[in-house]
Symmetry: C2
Subunit: 448 residues, 2 copies
C-alpha cells in the first residue's frame, strides 16, 4: 500500500530565490556556511524520500524494530554519553528540573526503546485512501495519503525526542533533520548514531534521519529559512523556543504554543467526580502542557467547592482565587489579572467563580491558548454547548485535561501537540505527518 | 450541524511579541499605521467568528444567496466602477492580457453572481465528523471540522476573486480580509460593498468580509506579518506575487506556485487519445495553471508523434523540441535547458523524447512544480506506477491536465490550487478552508 514518490527537486531554486529576502546584516561567512550545511543535509534527506516511499509497510516496521534493537545494543555508549552531558550540565549549574529531563538511566532508555518498537508496529499512515468519488464525466478521483517530505524538528533537553521524532517521521515515510538542545548534545549523537545504524541494517537509508552536527545557532536560523529544502518545522519545547521559531521561520511550522488549560465545574457537576477530575487534571503531573491551570466554578456549584480545594491543598497545590474563592478558602491568595493568563506548569491553580456557562466560555475565549479545555457536568446540554463553542484543539466532557496526549488518543505516539489551526491540530501523530495527493483516472476525458 | 466556536483572543498577544523580531528599519510611522489598521480589521474579523460559527448551514446559504442578489442589484454601480478602472488602466497602458482580466461586462458579472449562488448551495463543510473512535478506557473521541478562522487573500487583477474568495470563506465559517490588485480597486470596492450589504441583509455580520481600504503596500506587509490576527494567507496570482508572499509571510501560507505541468505519451498510448489529450491540455486555455507546458514522449511512441505535433501547430502552438523531436518536425525550434523549467502560460510547448518511464519520472521530479502531471497509456501497470511515483498534487491517467480545477473536482469552487504540502494541496475548496478539533466525551475518566 505504500507508494514510491519522486520528490520534486526544483524547490531548492526557490530557497535560493528567497535567501536574498533576509536582512543583509545576516549575510556573512558563518551564515553562508550554515545555509550550505543545511542545504546539503536537506538534499541528502530529500534524496531518501523516494526509497522511503518505495518501502512497504513491513519494510518500515522492520527498519524501526532494527533501530530499537540498535539502541539496545548501544545502551552502554548512550548512557556513557548521557553521563558526560549530565556532568557538564551539573558543572554549569543547570536547574534540577532540567537535569531531570536530561538524565537517562536503564529504565528511561528501555522506555525510549519501547516507544520506537510501539511506533514500528503502528498502522502505516501512508497510502490510505482518504476519499474517492466519481464525476459525471466518468473521471474517478482518489485522495491518497502520502509522506509530508523533509521534516525539521527543533527541541530542547529531553533526549527521548531524538528517537520519538525519528521513529514517527520514518513511519510516515518522511526524512527528518533533528536539532536537539545543547545540554543533550552527546546523548543525542549516540542515540542518533544507533538509530541510523539500525535503519541502514534493515536496508533503509540512514540519511533519512540526520542530526544537525553542532550547536551553532546559525544552523537553527538556516533550518528555519530553508524553504524548499525543509517542508515543515516542528518546534518542541517551551514558549520562548516556539515563539522564536514562529517569528523566524520561512518554512511552514506546526505551532506548539502553551497549554493554558481550563476546567469548568458546571452547576450540574457531580461533586465527587469534580473533585477527582480537578485533582487529576492539576496534580497528576504539573509540568505537562495538558495540566490544568485555571479552574472555573459555576457560582451554583460553589457550595461544593471547599472540599475540592481542600483536596488540592492536601495534594500540595497552592491556590490563587478571585474574591469569591478567597471568601470560601482562607488559604487562597488573591489572583491578579496575570494569573488568568499564566501557564504555571507547577503546583499552582488559579480558581474563579463564574455566573454562568456564558461567562465561563468568555473567560476561556479571552485567556485560553486553544490547547485543551474541559467541562464537568451531568447536564448533557451544557456539555454539548461547551464542546461546540470552545474553540480549542481538544475539548473534553467529564474527563481529565491530562488526556491531551497522542498515546491516550490511540495515535501510538506524538511528536507534540499543535495549537495552530493549519494542517495539524492537537496531538501530532503519524497521520498528521502525512499529506495527500489526488489520483485521477480517466478514459480520454478532455475538458470542454 | 454548524457549531458556535468562540475564537481565542489571546493570540494578538503573540502578534505583539513577534513584532520586535522585524527589522528595526521597518518600524516607522507608516508601518505602524499599517499594522494598526490590519490589527483593527483582524480584530473586527475575529469578532465575527462566533456569529459565523453559530450560523446554521441554512443561515449561511441564505446569506450567500443574499450576497449574490445584492451584486445583481448593484450591477450598474459595479460596471461603472469597472469602467473607471479600465479607463485608468488603459491610460496607464496596461497590457491587453491584463486589461482583459480586469474587464467586467454583463455576462462576466452574471458569471460572478452564478459562482456565489453555486457556493451558497454547496454542502456545509463545517461540523462534519471526520473520524470517531473509542478507547478501551471508555473515552469517546470525535474529530469534527471547524472553521479555519481569519483568512487573508492577496490577489491580482481579476475582480471575480473578490466574490469567489468571500463566498468560499463565509461558506466555511471564516472571516476574510481581501487585498486585490491596484488596477481593480474601484471594481473591488463596489463588489465588496454589495457582498457585505447582502450578508448583513441576511443577518450575518458584514465585517466577516473586509477589503483592505487602500493600496499602500505596507498594508500587504502588515497582513503578511499579522500572526495571531490572521490565521492563514492565500496568495492568488503570478509567481512574483506568490514568492513575495512566501518570502515575507509570518502567517501560515497556502503556497500557490507555478503549474509546470507535464504529460507523458507512453509507449502504450493510444495515438488518437494522445492527440486529443495533448491538444486539450495545451491549447484549450494556455493561460491557466493546469495548462500543459512540457510534453514527454516515450521513444517507442515517436512514430505516432508527427501528426500530434501537426495538430498542435495547426491550433497555433509553437514547438520547442530536443534533438529527437526537431528531427521529427522541421518547424520545432531547439529547446534550451531553460525551456524544461519554463511555465509559458502561452501557445508554446516544450517536447522531449525519453527512453522509458523512469526517464520521464526523473524529468518530472527534476523540473516539475508539484502541481499537475498526466500519463497517457493503455498500460495499466505503467499508469499506476506514474500515479504512485509522481509527487505532485494532482496526477492523472488518460485525462487532460486542464481538469486541475476545483469545479472539475466537484468542489463547487476553489480559491486557488495549492502546490505546498501542508494542510491544503491541490484545489482549495470549502473543505480545505476548514480545520478540526477533537471532542472527547467521558464518564469521569482520570489519567493513571
Amino acid at each position: 500500500m505504500t507508494e514510491t514518490a519522486r520528490p520534486q527537486t526544483s524547490q531548492p531554486k526557490s530557497a535560493a530565490d528567497t535567501a536574498p529576502e533576509r536582512a543583509p546584516a545576516d549575510i556573512d561567512a558563518a551564515d553562508d556556511r550554515a545555509r550550505r550545511l543545511i542545504a546539503q543535509m536537506g538534499a541528502a534527506a530529500r534524496a531518501c524520500l523516494g526509497r522511503l516511499a518505495a518501502a512497504t509497510s513491513d519494510d518500515k516496521t522492520h527498519a524501526l524494530v532494527a533501530a530499537a534493537r540498535a539502541i539496545e545494543a548501544d545502551a552502554e555508549a548512550i548512557l556513557a554519553a548521557n553521563a558526560r552531558d549530565m556532568a557538564a550540565a551539573e558543572a554549569r549549574g543547570l536547574a534540577p528540573a532540567l537535569l531531570d529531563r536530561l538524565r537517562l538511566d536503564t529504565d528511561r532508555l528501555a522506555g525510549i526503546v519501547a516507544a520506537v518498537d510501539k511506533v514500528a508496529h503502528l498502522p502505516d499512515p501512508v497510502g490510505r485512501t482518504l476519499a474517492s468519488w466519481q464525476q459525471p464525466n466518468g473521471l474517478a478521483f482518489e485522495r491518497v495519503a502520502t509522506p509530508l517530505g523533509v521534516v525539521g524538528v527543533i527541541y530542547e533537553s529531553r533526549p527521548n525526542v531524538t528517537a520519538d521524532a525519528a521513529a514517527l517521521c520514518v513511519k510516515a515515510g518522511n526524512a527528518v533533520i533533528l536539532r536537539g538542545g545543547s545540554e543533550a548534545v552527546e546523548t543525542n549523537r549516540a542515540l542518533h548514531a544507533a538509530f541510523a545504524k539500525g535503519l541502514a541494517s534493515a536496508g533503509l537509508p540512514g540519511e533519512a534521519v540526520q542530526l544537525v552536527p553542532d550547536q551553532d545557532r546559525r544552523l537553527v536560523a538556516a533550518l528555519l529559512g530553508a524553504t524548499g529544502v525543509v517542508d515543515v518545522i516542528v518546534p518542541r519545547g517551551g514558549r520562548s523556543l516556539v515563539e522564536r521559531v514562529e517569528a523566524d521561520a520561512r518554512v511552514p511550522v506546526f505551532a506548539h504554543l502553551e497549554g493554558l488549560c481550563h476546567m469548568l465545574l458546571d452547576a450540574a457537576a457531580d461533586p465527587d467526580r469534580a473533585r477527582d477530575l480537578a485533582l487529576n487534571a492539576k496534580m497528576r503531573r504539573t509540568g505537562i502542557c495538558g495540566a490544568l491551570e485555571t479552574l472555573l466554578v459555576h457560582k451554583d456549584f460553589a457550595p461544593h467547592l471547599p472540599p475540592i480545594l481542600d483536596a488540592l491543598k492536601a495534594a500540595g497545590c497552592a491556590l490563587r482565587g478571585d474574591a469569591g474563592v478567597c471568601a470560601l478558602d482562607a488559604e487562597a491568595t488573591p489572583a491578579s489579572e496575570a494569573d488568568w493568563a499564566t501557564e504555571y506548569l507547577d503546583a499552582i491553580l488559579a480558581v474563579r467563580l463564574v455566573d454562568d456557562l456564558d461567562a465561563a466560555l468568555d473567560h476561556i475565549a479571552r485567556y485560553g491558548s486553544g490547547h485543551t479545555d474541559a467541562i464537568v457536568t451531568e447536564d448533557r446540554g451544557a456539555a454539548e454547548r461547551f464542546l461546540a463553542e470552545v474553540d480549542s484543539a481538544i475539548v473534553l466532557h467529564n474527563a481529565s485535561t491530562q488526556f491531551a496526549d497522542g498515546g491516550e488518543f490511540g495515535f501510538g505516539a506524538e511528536i507534540g501537540i499543535a495549537t495552530g489551526r493549519v494542517h495539524a491540530r492537537g496531538p501530532v501523530g503519524p497521520e498528521q505527518l502525512t499529506t495527500f495527493k489526488y489520483k485521477v483516472r480517466g478514459s480520454g476525458q478532455t475538458r470542454p
